[in-house]
């Protein structure tokens, strides 16, 4: 009996060891290939090198199964309730834009769709879109100026609900109630537009806007002929913001609510692919668009599936259930993927567009003292934060040195490293030179005020760890940093300026003027109350300057001056990571559109 029990115990131990070893996920093959992976190119194959793009001819290939963590939900991704990055991933190959956004976030004129897009006048600013003739949607209807006009009507926010006296109806906060509810009106709100003929769309700006190229990209152009058919409006270009409310309401109701999910009859494609089928909360399938103007896409079919868990995605790739996976950045999953290189899996990681940062609240008297801001910046050890939180995914990660440029941009300059040396001794010297005195509790004080402040943030584990590291580093510099974890911090508190220091992330965009609302005096998202006339002047130039070189100089000036004021301290870029089978090439993750930005160029064996 004892022998039997002993054998059973041994068998149990062996069984548990087998299961646990599989669960822990040891090396499955050769050692990992590092963050660079295959080094897929960020430059599109169809980049002609002169600011234009033409879809290249690629050999036809089989189906590609692409997984991401959230499902496709809407054909019209411009409404607030859709507005999802994951919809953009599905729609990038489906809805054509006048500009093709390269892997480096450079706008290239799409010569398959447009003859030209030109700034035909600077004062007043006029942009003329010249559409190529004979382009059609996948259902055979014309792709022409009507689609641009519909986009303008919806995205401008100009159709406003009015009372019997013709006055705009306001809500409780005094905002005008609009017919259309786009998620953003940036840029388009400053324009008036018309179709001078079927193939010519002309925008006239009330005030200059330098980022005009971004107005009708990222799936903005939806089929006007569908709205005409469904609402009984004969010609969309005859509808203006002052048209009868009933007409505007019909069109807006459709635009706001009917292009959700997938219905084949009302959701054609204008790009290299079109949506063929959709299983709600499971997958969306794209097939080649037979009416696409350019060279056909490589993959015969692209299936986008949503699998929330990164480990499940990784094992699915290993099991050849998937071809491309885009898991959320996670060091455990990254290590697992690196170890699959011998099984034909290529893993890549790089800094993304999203970056973590610390905003100092200028309404707090503490941070009105520049010495305090300097000392705080001097004590933070960003390298330690990056080492502990980011390098598990991207070993090449470095602290971010700019609020307005990413390291892979040619104009990137690190304007923060000299100000953030991770030196508590230097921080102490800065404080003492400004009259702060070290108290018996190890915390500096001045005029009966202790150097104690909160860092407020949501309960994301990464942020909790970031604050812990800052607390430890800055305690050595005589500062008492209090952790203010609040799961709802981003709901109201941050926009009401209810914090001392805010830790959260901004998402970068190709539109360089977007951050103006954050850093200009009185900007809609300048919640920290920062003001600097020089910075304001630089941002005015960024918004109005059409010359790229001058614009870049203005951006660098704004960046440098903001850094000198130490208003906002960049920490690190959140890494993007992706992996794919070695049967497919050219898979590169672009921060704005995901990895499907060049799906038509994929060559698949």
């Amino acid at each position: 009996m004892k022998q039997v029990r002993g054998m059973l115990a041994l068998a149990a131990a062996l069984g548990a060891a087998l299961v646990l070893s599989a669960c822990a996920g040891g090396p499955d093959g050769a050692s990992g290939n590092g963050a660079g992976g295959n080094g897929a190119s960020s430059t599109a194959k169809g980049n002609n090198g002169d600011g234009t793009y033409t879809a290249p001819g690629v050999p036809p290939g089989p189906e590609v199964v692409y997984t991401h963590s959230t499902a496709y939900t809407a054909y019209n991704n411009k409404t607030p309730d859709a507005n999802s990055f994951y919809n953009t991933e599905a729609l990038s190959p489906v809805l054509a834009d006048p500009f093709f956004l390269d892997g480096n976030l450079e706008y290239l004129l799409d010569t398959d769709m447009m003859e030209s897009v030109e700034l035909t006048s600077e004062d007043p600013q006029i942009v003329t879109y010249q559409i190529k003739p004979n382009l059609t949607w996948s259902d055979g209807a014309a792709w022409d100026c009507d689609d641009f006009y519909l986009a303008w009507l919806a995205l401008s926010g100009k159709p406003v609900q009015r009372d019997a006296a013709g006055q705009p109806i306001l809500d409780a906060e005094g905002n005008e109630q609009t017919f259309f509810t786009p998620a953003s009106t940036v840029g388009v709100e400053q324009t008036n537009a018309e179709c001078t003929d079927d193939l010519t769309f002309v925008e006239t700006y009330e005030t200059p806007f330098a980022d005009w190229k971004g107005n009708y990209v990222q799936n903005s152009l939806l089929p006007a002929h569908i709205i005409e058919q469904q609402t009984g409006i004969a010609d969309i270009t005859t509808i203006t913001p002052t048209s009868p409310a009933a007409d505007l309401q019909r069109i807006a109701d459709f635009w706001n609510t009917r292009w959700n999910g997938f219905t084949k009859e009302i959701m054609p494609g204008s790009g290299p692919y079109m949506i063929d089928s959709w299983e709600q909360n499971a997958s969306v399938t794209l097939v080649r668009n037979p009416n696409w103007a350019g060279n056909p896409g490589g993959p015969e079919r692209i299936v986008l599936r949503n699998i929330a868990d990164g480990s499940a995605q990784a094992q699915g790739l290993q099991n050849q259930d998937f071809t491309v996976i885009i898991p959320q950045a996670d060091p455990v999953v990254a290590e697992r993927l690196r170890n699959l290189s011998a099984q034909g899996v290529i893993f890549e990681a790089k800094g993304g567009l999203t970056f973590e940062h610390l905003d100092l609240n200028f309404d707090n008297p503490l941070f009105q003292d520049k010495a305090v801001r300097q000392a705080f910046a001097q004590c933070i050890d960003r390298n330690e934060v990056v080492e502990k939180l980011v390098r598990g995914v991207d070993p090449q990660a470095r602290p971010l040195g700019s609020l307005l440029f990413t390291p892979d941009e040619a104009d990137y300059e690190d304007v923060y490293s000299d100000k953030m040396p991770a030196d508590p001794t230097k921080a102490k010297q800065t404080l003492e030179a400004a009259g702060w005195q070290l108290g018996q509790d190890g915390v500096y004080a001045k005029d009966s005020r202790r150097l104690s402040f909160r860092i407020s943030h949501t309960d994301v584990p990464r942020r909790v760890q970031t604050v812990q590291l800052i607390q430890s580093a800055c305690r050595a510099a005589g500062m008492d940093v209090v952790d203010d974890t609040d799961p709802n911090f981003l709901d109201d508190r941050v926009s009401q300026g209810d914090y001392d220091v805010a830790l959260y992330a901004w998402v970068g965009t190709p539109l360089k003027s977007s951050p103006a609302s954050i850093y200009q005096t009185g900007g809609g998202q300048n919640w920290q109350g920062y003001t600097n006339p020089g910075v304001d002047e630089a941002w005015d130039k960024v918004k109005l300057e059409f010359d790229e070189a001058a614009r870049t100089d203005a951006l660098k000036t704004a960046d440098r001056l903001t850094a000198e004021d130490l208003a906002s301290l960049p920490l690190f870029q959140l890494p993007d990571m992706w992996a794919y089978s070695d049967t497919i090439d050219s898979v590169y993750y672009q921060g704005s559109d995901g990895a499907t930005w060049n799906a038509n160029e994929w060559e698949v064996q």
Partner: protein, 332 residues
């Protein structure tokens, strides 16, 4: 029995009402569905206020609950409020998620019950034998292994099996993530191949802990029943051992397990979240997490209604089974 059933169903209505109010308030007051939109550069207050108006978020929370309740009783479950969900119909969403989870859970629970009861009976009849000790050891191992670990381990070995099959000239069989797209096609044999390849790993994962629980419950219940006077009397009267076990003891020993079955099935249905995440199945568990994370009370209410109905029905089923298994029990 019918009056009893009707009474039970009527009692559950106010309970569901109170539960729905509390759950709605907790989720609606815990955060803002538009928080992510607010944080995007360039988004204006006008955009936010118009979005709030369209989604009904500009009304007081109790008004929103009342509107939801009055719509719900008329069959309108509302739309999803989470950003990125594009106001998908809650009823459609919940029903799809329910079917996904139901598919996963049904096979696992049926297998777990059948095997668990069988092993429990055998282990009790052959107490302290090699079989009993093995079953006990296996049950405790399954209790102590985290479910996600079991799932990941099964997937790892499943991938190795697939690689072996390919090396031997066969097709890959086991799927490690998500249900099969587009259903099952081909001949009957091919469909069985596809079906088993899709369901085998998640079913084994889900049934592991359930099987362990059923086998332990059945064993201890069987042991207790086998030691009762009437069973001793039956043995003393010279009845065959199999007749004593299955005709006299087994039916009474099933009563405690019946309780466990009803509770377990409804619990697993509402929260097979770990298995769903590990295997990439978007069912009720992932829907629950999503709705809470996105502060979406409408979707949470849909989830709550479905799982509450399942709990009520399965508890009722358990009561009905009691009366069948033990004629002394009268429902009334």
């Amino acid at each position: 029995m019918v009056p009893y059933i009707i009474r039970r169903l009527l009692i559950s209505i106010p309970i569901l009402g109170i539960g729905s109010l509390l759950a709605y308030l907790m989720v609606a007051l815990s955060g803002d569905p538009l928080a992510n939109l607010r944080a995007q550069p360039g988004v204006t207050e006008s955009v936010i206020s118009n979005a709030e108006r369209q989604l009904g978020l500009d009304r007081p929370v109790l008004v929103r609950y009342w509107n939801w309740l009055t719509d719900f009783v008329q069959g309108d479950w509302g739309v999803r409020l989470g950003q990125g969900q594009a106001r998908a119909d809650v009823f459609d969403t919940v029903m799809r998620a329910f079917l996904v989870t139901f598919q996963l859970v049904l096979a696992a629970e049926v297998l777990a019950i059948v095997l668990g009861v069988a092993v429990g009976v055998l282990a009790a009849v052959r107490q302290y034998s090699l079989f009993d000790n093995s079953a006990t050891t296996a049950a405790f191992i399954m209790f102590s292994m985290p479910l996600f670990c079991v799932g990941i381990a099964l997937k790892t070995y499943g991938i190795e099996l697939n690689n072996l099959l390919v090396n031997l000239g066969f097709e890959r069989w086991l799927t490690t993530a998500g249900p099969r797209r587009g259903g099952y096609d081909g001949s009957v044999g091919e469909q069985i191949f596809q079906y088993t390849g899709t369901f085998l790993l998640p079913t084994l994962t889900l049934m592991a802990i359930s099987f362990a629980a059923y086998s332990r419950f059945q064993r201890s219940s069987m042991l207790e029943t086998m030691n009762t006077d009437y069973v001793r009397t039956a043995r003393a009267k010279g009845l065959r051992p199999s007749r004593v076990i299955f005709r006299h003891a087994f039916r009474n020993a099933l009563i405690p397990v019946t309780t466990l079955m009803s509770l377990n099935f409804s619990a697993v249905l509402g929260g097979a979240i770990i298995t769903e995440i590990v295997f990439g199945w978007n069912g009720l568990g992932t829907l629950l997490v999503e709705s809470v994370r996105q502060y979406d009370p409408n979707t949470l209410m849909g989830w709550l209604m479905v799982t509450a109905v399942v709990v009520v029905l399965f508890n009722l089923l358990a009561d009905i089974l009691y009366s069948y298994l033990d004629p002394r029990i009268r429902l009334g």
